[in-house]
Each structure stands twice: as C-alpha cells, then as structure tokens.
Assembly symmetry: C2
Homo-oligomer: 336 residues x 2
C-alpha cells in the first residue's frame, strides 16, 4: 500500500529521485541512493507494476503461448524461458491453448492488444495471416519456438534432416524393416514438424533403396500412451514385423519400448527404437535419440526478445538449433 510519495518524504527527496534511485539509474549520488533504499526497505515499498507500466510503456512481462503443458517439450521450453526471464526480472504470463475450453482468439486480445506483455514467445504455433498482421501492427516482438512459421522469426531444428539422420542411424546398423511412429498434427500448430519428419524418414529410406511400407507408418499424439497403443497394434499384426522404429518424439519412443515389452520383445535385440528430443527419461529407458535441447531453445528465445526490447541488438534472425545423436542402448543391429 505504501506509495512512492511516502518513500520520498521518508528519505527527504523527490519522487523522481526515489524512482531513479530504486531502479538503479545513473546520476544518483551513492548517499542518496542508500537513504532511498533504506526508506523503501523500512516502509516495505515496491513500485506498482500497473503504474510503472502505464508511465513507462514497459510491462516487464513476457507472454508464452503453449499448445499444452502435458508434453515434455513444451514444459521444458517454458522452464528455459522462465530461467532467463527470472534473471531479468520479467514475469511470465502463460497462455495455454490446449485442454478443455481452449479459445485461441482471446490470447490475442488479452496479451497483445491489452498490452499486458512486452513480447511474445509462441511454441509450435502456426499463426493465421490475420494473427500475424495483428502482431506486426503492435510492434510486439515475437518469436516462435519449435517450428518454422511463415512471416515470423523462429527457433527451430532441421526437422527433415533430423528425421533423416535418425532413420539413417538405423539403416547404418543394418536395419531395412523400419517403422515410423509419426506425431499427429494438431489444428493450429505448425504443420512443418510432422510433415518434415515424415519427409526425412522417406528420404533416408529412398536413398538406401528401401521401399516405403505405408502400413508401417503409424500415428500417435506425441505422447506415450497413444504411441504404446499404436505400436502394440502394429506388433500384434500377423505377417512381417519391423526390426526398428523411428519415433517423432521420445515420449512416443518410450511408448514403443513399452509396447515391445508388452509383446514380449526385447529392445534392442528384437527391435531397435530411436526417438527425437532427449527427454529427461531417455537415459532411464536407455533410449537412443536425436537430442535437441528445449530448455536452451526456450532460454535463447527469451534472450533474443530481451535483447530486442533493450535495443542491445538489432532484430535478430531465425535460428536453427543444432541436434546431435545420443546413442544409448535402444538401438543395435538387427538379429539375423
């Protein structure tokens, strides 16, 4: 409840000086700053964010739009963003598009137009032309993490190349019967992720002269349960069975491993599994994977936006984040 005037009175200076002293601005004598800080501490004063936001035009908050919180990738990007914002004293406003009762439009109304945030990070979101127009018109710095998006800066990985590399890893081990556990595309999300990964898988097969078997391309929702079901279904079929699976995410890969166990198969002796992500459980599962680093991708996105807000750096361009193969125990040459 304490206002700036009370601090000013207590310290015997003007409110202008209090403001400067407390924000660490230059041109304040050390003596003055000390007594202002003392007065503020004594009175328990902290500036109201609404007031300073209104006066300065900066909200010191950043919006993060996510499709859901239940996938490891999203949660981890958020933690990366958060780690940077925290250090910069920015608040994180979370807009969750997923779940029960989603309404995408309001996000725009609330964060962008209401100016509750200074910048926006969107995860895997595919903006409509209209949405991009609104974003642009507000001058709100924006960046997308996890997928290329038309007309917006983004941080992404080489989706196609990563999928290709994963598949090639299996091929190099000697596999030729390789299934692909595809992550299903969701309305409103970047289409590039599933599409490009599928493409990389197909390219790798084609280059190795392996014919594509559409019945071995199965779908999950990027999570463990659905992948486990899809994989169980595949393994339960009569006829030839793949000796390896490439999954679009580690959560799906782990689902595949569980499905293999359910079917009485050993990994990697009976079937090899490779994923994408380097999930926190990947090590526990001995999962070979294409390691991307969502935490760092989130942190990088936040840093880029902060730099831009501080005017430290000219508007930076899109970034392609490197991915590396993390070889563990879930992949091996096929049995004869």
């Amino acid at each position: 409840m304490t206002g700036i005037d009370e601090v000013a009175r207590e310290a015997g200076v003007s409110t202008a000086t209090v403001s400067r002293a407390l924000r660490g601005l230059p041109n304040v004598s050390e003596h003055t700053r000390a007594s202002v800080q003392a007065a503020a501490a004594k009175l328990g004063y902290v500036a109201s964010s609404s007031a300073s936001g209104l006066a300065s035009g900066r909200t010191m908050a950043m919006g993060v739009v996510v499709p859901s919180l239940s996938l490891w990738f999203y949660a981890t990007v958020i933690e990366g963003v958060d780690s940077v914002l925290r250090a910069a004293s920015y608040d994180l406003i979370l807009f969750n598009l997923g779940g029960r009762g989603a309404d995408r439009e309001r996000v725009f109304h609330r964060t962008i137009l209401r100016k509750r945030t200074d910048a926006l990070i969107a995860l895997c979101i595919d903006f409509t032309a209209d949405e991009r127009h609104q974003l642009a018109s507000t001058g709100h710095p924006t960046i997308v993490v996890g997928g290329a998006v038309r007309g917006l800066r983004h941080i992404d990985i080489d989706e196609c190349g990563v999928a290709k590399q994963a598949t090639e890893h299996l091929i190099a081990l000697g596999h030729r019967k390789i299934a692909h556990l595809v992550g299903s595309w969701q309305m409103g999300l970047t289409r590039q992720v599933p599409v490009q990964r599928r493409k990389g898988y197909e390219q790798a097969l084609a280059q190795a002269g392996i014919p594509l078997r559409p019945d071995w391309v199965i779908t999950g929702h990027f999570n463990m349960a659905s992948a486990r079901r899809a994989m169980s279904d595949l393994l339960g079929r009569t006829g030839e069975r793949p000796t390896a699976v490439f999954a679009d995410s580690d959560e799906m890969a782990m689902g595949a491993i569980l499905a293999a166990h359910d079917a009485g198969l050993r990994v990697p002796q009976d079937i090899s599994v490779i994923g994408i992500d380097d999930h926190e459980l990947a090590e526990s599962f001995g999962l070979t994977t294409m390691a991307q680093n969502p935490f760092e991708q989130g942190a990088l996105a936040a840093r880029m936006l902060l730099d831009e807000l501080h005017g430290t750096v000219a508007r930076r361009r899109s970034v392609r984040y490197p991915v590396t193969l993390a070889e563990r125990a879930s992949t091996a040459p096929p049995a004869h």
Copy 2:
C-alpha cells in the same frame, strides 16, 4: 495504439461512456453500447491493462507459484487453474520456483508486492512466517493447493488416510511384505505430504500387526527415473523381497513397475504396485492408484479465489478433496 479518447470521438460519446459500454456495465442504452462497440471494433481498440489496472485497482491476473513444471501433478493443477481463469478472462502469471536459478524471494517482490496479480495460488509451498505476514498485509487472497499449510487456506487431500487406504488395499489382498516408495521432501515445500503418507503406511501396517521393515522404506524424488533406480536397488538385494509396493506418486509407481520388469518380475503376479494420483499414464500402465484429481483441485482453487475477489462469497475455508481407489491390474494377491 488506439486510445479510449479516439473511440469516444468516433462514437460521439464521452470516454466514461465508452468505458462503461465496453465493459458491459449497466445503465448504458443499447443503442449507445452498439455504436461504441462498433467504433472500438473499427479502430481495433482494446483497453490497456496497465491503465485500467491502475485506475481500478484490479489487475485481472492471478499468480500461480509452482515448485516445478516437470511433475504431472503440478502441470495438471496449472491446467485446472488455467481453465477457470480463462473463462473469467483472467491471466495466469507463472512463478516457477524450481529449476536452475531459482530465487524464491523475488516471487514475493514481484507478484505480491508489485501488485501484478489480484490473488495467488501456491502449489505445495510451505510459506515462512515472514512470507505469510507479507501475504496477509497485502490483503492478497491466497490459497495453497496440495498440502496443509499453517495459517493459510488450502485444498488438500487426507494424506495420511490415503496412504493408509492404499496400504490396506495391499494388505486386504493378502500382502504382508509391503515396501514403501517415499517421495522425498524438498526445501520450501510442504513437509506434510511425505510425512503424512509415511504415517499412513505405518498405521496400516501396525493395525494389521505387520512389523515395519525400515530397509523396505526407500526414497525417490516423486518422479519415475529416481523411483526406478531406488526400486531396482531394492529388488537387487539378496534376501527376502517384498511382494508389494506402495508408492507416494504414480510416477514413482510406474518407475517401480519398470524396475520390476527390469528385474524380470511380472506385475502383479510377482509384485503388486499401487500409487497415488491417477496419472494420465496410469491406465496405460494398468496401475492401481488412489485417484486424486489435480485438475479439479486447481480449478476449485481458482474458483474460490475468483469468488472471493468478486465478493460473491464470504471467505471460504480450506477444502479437503476426496480421493478414491481406482483398481486396475497392478495389484493382486501375492503368489504362494
């Protein structure tokens, strides 16, 4: 960029009327409201949150303090909170205490004292006396989800009773060699959760006349990987082995199931497993569990605070959320 005055000019009314019309307040003729809305739409006007926050004293945002995002319980509570806030046009400001670079103090500074939020929901946080004092002094409605906390309202479950019931379920099946996978307490979090669950386990054993075996009380960090390790360690020991395990969380229970598989044991034939939560993967794992409903707990917390802010309801008291046994395939009578 459009301000309220421009809308007022466009609609040919005063700013006061624009404000009333747009917020849906009474005492505005339908004709006026319509033309104001038209003008606002035409100009793309949306009120600035800083300005209205300053003028009205309401920020239309709620803070949510979480220990981390990587546990299912926390993420799910957040989604429950979010679903309610969204419907009420409130924004969710996320304060993550966990992870790299945590600093708890700043949370208070930023959200509570800076008045960025109208209310606060804390998950499993144990506030210090000082923190509670600060909270009280601001009149910021606060509620804790997931654990009783001294001097603050909370939503919790009967930790002790739930643990007892879970253990009793195993005993009723005929088990007498029952291990307990305890979730480790973390600095700053409610101590009640691990303590009470341990107590319930011990009570159930005592009532059944089963002596406690301290070497069968093992610890994990509420997650799968650590529980899998702890359980593998237990199963790898020479000598007698438990026929059942009660885990403090489903994530740990799933870790135990995986450890059992790693050890070549079948669940439930060789070892029964029961958890607490009803995790989204519980069904996939056939896990028997004490189902609490974090989504609803979060939603309820948000609703209670909104009611309080709206003055609809007198300050509500703490709530004890009901937990039910969800029996699946991971528990069965012990083999002879």
